[in-house]
Symmetry: C2
Subunit: 371 residues, 2 copies
């Protein structure tokens, strides 16, 4: 028998990094609720409600809208592995870590990937995507709306029109945007989107909300062979969630409780009000950071309100500041990585973490450390 | 905005079905604990401890022992997709639903499956497995230790020896056994095992503990192509969990809190004592059921203590009894399915649900309903 392990007693961190963000107290409470069985009609009702609330958050009427039983990366793999057969041409727009991840995962499933690359922190405009699309003949275009590694917000208006004009489908990563900045699947014409629960929805990680248009489902139904990823088979999951409840796997009741509660909070606050709150607290951060000579990496025009990459001033020890924030103030902010390693901090103001008092505290701590 | 959704207020079900089982109150409390970030050294320590406690539960020294971020089915797919390349010969021993599932998932990954089939409820003996192994030339043999669909317990002693003698690896499904009946990976020579958290560990669903021997890892390292399942890439997960902490996905802090607490309870109780408790409460159920003319499907020699399939007496409406148990007594038991549909109830006594008072209550309710 292993020797005694201590009671769970983590330090009270204020999570202002790239995620997970702070879990809302109502969500924490929901998770201490005893379980229902997954064939209990009461639980089916909670599943139905979770799907309805998810459609609201995604701003879509897509029937196939459900949480995959895994983290955000499971959402990415579920979408790509369902939509792509070996040999399918895919265009990936990559200007950061998660753009590159799209390529990495798609290659595993045998896609012929064309990568449109820009420097980390940039976003893409319609003409350059259309040119790459024409050249590649891609049948699927994948893009990250909110790039967690850089803090850039990709404009989505008009993109689906271009993609559809070329007979392709549009896949959007909205892990760091859903519930924090505008996500409008139907208005934008997005065919497949995936997200996570641990960012702007104020829940713990563990589920990956996904939503697929009829066009995306038609492509899946036209597959010549079943996808290899049994666990991520979205048409089977649609039957489990919204159809005849055919047993697929045992969904985590606890995480469904959490997601439903997080989405109830989204609906109560109202999407527009929630997006405005995220923007207001981010703008307060940006404005006050200027007083400390701290400059965001990304220009205002496409700067993400939910995650800000802050340039590390010359002569400042990047890691030491993060460590002091953590050890002296119980504040977590993120490090940069890839080409931004050592060059930026990543400050997340997402979900329940996006509160004015948290910004005030972070600024106060930075003032003391950087003085 | 969706109309108002009610506060979470599920009926207080006593979960005596095939899973999930009741979550231990200490585990429920652990899940309402605020999160740490996944790069926080405090969280790394909790991850390390969870792995150590998992090794104890699996009775193994395997370095690659970790929870996959998905449910038990994710564990099955992770193990099969890592160990099998397209064209690899696999022998599946199937005498129930989850045996068949092994085939279904392995086929997705291109394995050449030979299925050794027996009627639902049976178990396999060494000579018949060896004969099938010789004939099939399989390099991997997969078997279910505790078949949740039938309540049969597969004896594991001596099997690995046979499998290894033929140069193959042994995969074991222990979803409904880990923490409830003996699981001894190293003593038995099992090469790869997977489980779930929502059965005998007293946690909610959402993580899939897996453990791989060096032999299994050698086979993975000898792959000629990377596996398609990026999310389930066990060598990448090993680096995330036990190596350089290279970011792979954002593990669910909440579910790690839960699993660690569930495993602490396992260690505190002691494995032998825990197995004895599960057996004692099952034997009490079996003995008292006889008074009600309720007969288990599986003979005592290979009857599973954690899940009992009970024959529905002639003239009794199977579904009506389950509905009355649920609606009048808040007790959940499971239905049979496949060839056992309508013929059995499935009574789980797993983890925190395995308590004498629960058996007494179930027997009392059945007495009233069946009288």
């Amino acid at each position: 028998m292993p020797s005694a392990y201590a009671d769970l007693n983590p330090s009270p961190r204020l999570l202002l990094g790239p995620g997970p963000s702070a879990v809302h107290p109502r969500v924490l409470r929901a998770m201490s609720t005893p379980l229902l069985g997954y064939t209990d009609p009461e639980f089916w009702k909670l599943m139905d409600e979770t799907q309805e609330l998810l459609r609201h958050a995604f701003q879509t009427a897509n029937a196939l809208t459900l949480p995959v039983s895994g983290t955000g990366m499971a959402g990415m793999e579920a979408v790509l592995s369902n939509l792509l057969e070996p040999g399918d041409p895919l265009l990936v727009c990559a200007a950061g870590f998660f753009g590159n991840r799209l390529e990495e995962v798609a290659l595993r499933h045998g896609a012929l990937v064309t990568k449109l690359e820009k420097p980390w922190g940039d976003v893409f405009n319609l003409p350059e995507i259309e040119a790459a699309l024409q050249k590649s003949g891609a049948k699927v275009v994948a893009i990250v709306q909110a790039e967690t590694s850089t803090g850039a917000l990709q404009p989505m208006e008009g993109l689906a029109e271009v993609v559809h004009r070329h007979g392709a489908l549009l896949v959007m990563d909205c892990v760091t945007s859903l519930g924090g900045v505008a996500v409008k699947l139907d208005e934008w014409g997005v065919d497949a989107a995936y997200s996570g629960t641990q960012k702007c929805l104020g829940c713990p990680p563990g589920l990956a909300p996904v939503s697929l248009s009829q066009g995306a489902r038609d492509k899946i139904r036209a597959r010549t062979q079943p996808l290899s990823a049994w666990y991520f088979d979205l048409e089977m999951l649609a039957k489990y969630w919204g159809g005849d409840r055919a047993y697929h796997h045992t969904v985590s009741g606890t995480l469904v409780y959490a997601l439903r509660e997080g989405l109830r909070l989204v609906a109560e606050e109202g999407l527009e009000a929630r997006w405005a709150r995220h923007r207001r607290n981010a703008e307060y951060l940006w404005q006050e950071m200027a007083e400390l000579d701290l400059v965001p990496l990304v220009p205002p025009a496409h700067r993400l309100p939910t995650l800000t990459t802050v340039r590390v001033p010359e002569g400042v020890d990047e890691a030491r500041v993060r460590t002091r924030l953590r050890d002296e103030y119980n504040i977590e902010v993120g490090a940069g990585f890839g080409p931004l390693k050592g060059k930026v901090w990543r400050v997340g103001l997402m979900g329940y973490s996006s509160r004015r008092e948290n910004v005030t505290l972070l600024l106060g701590a930075l003032r003391e450390i950087l003085k």
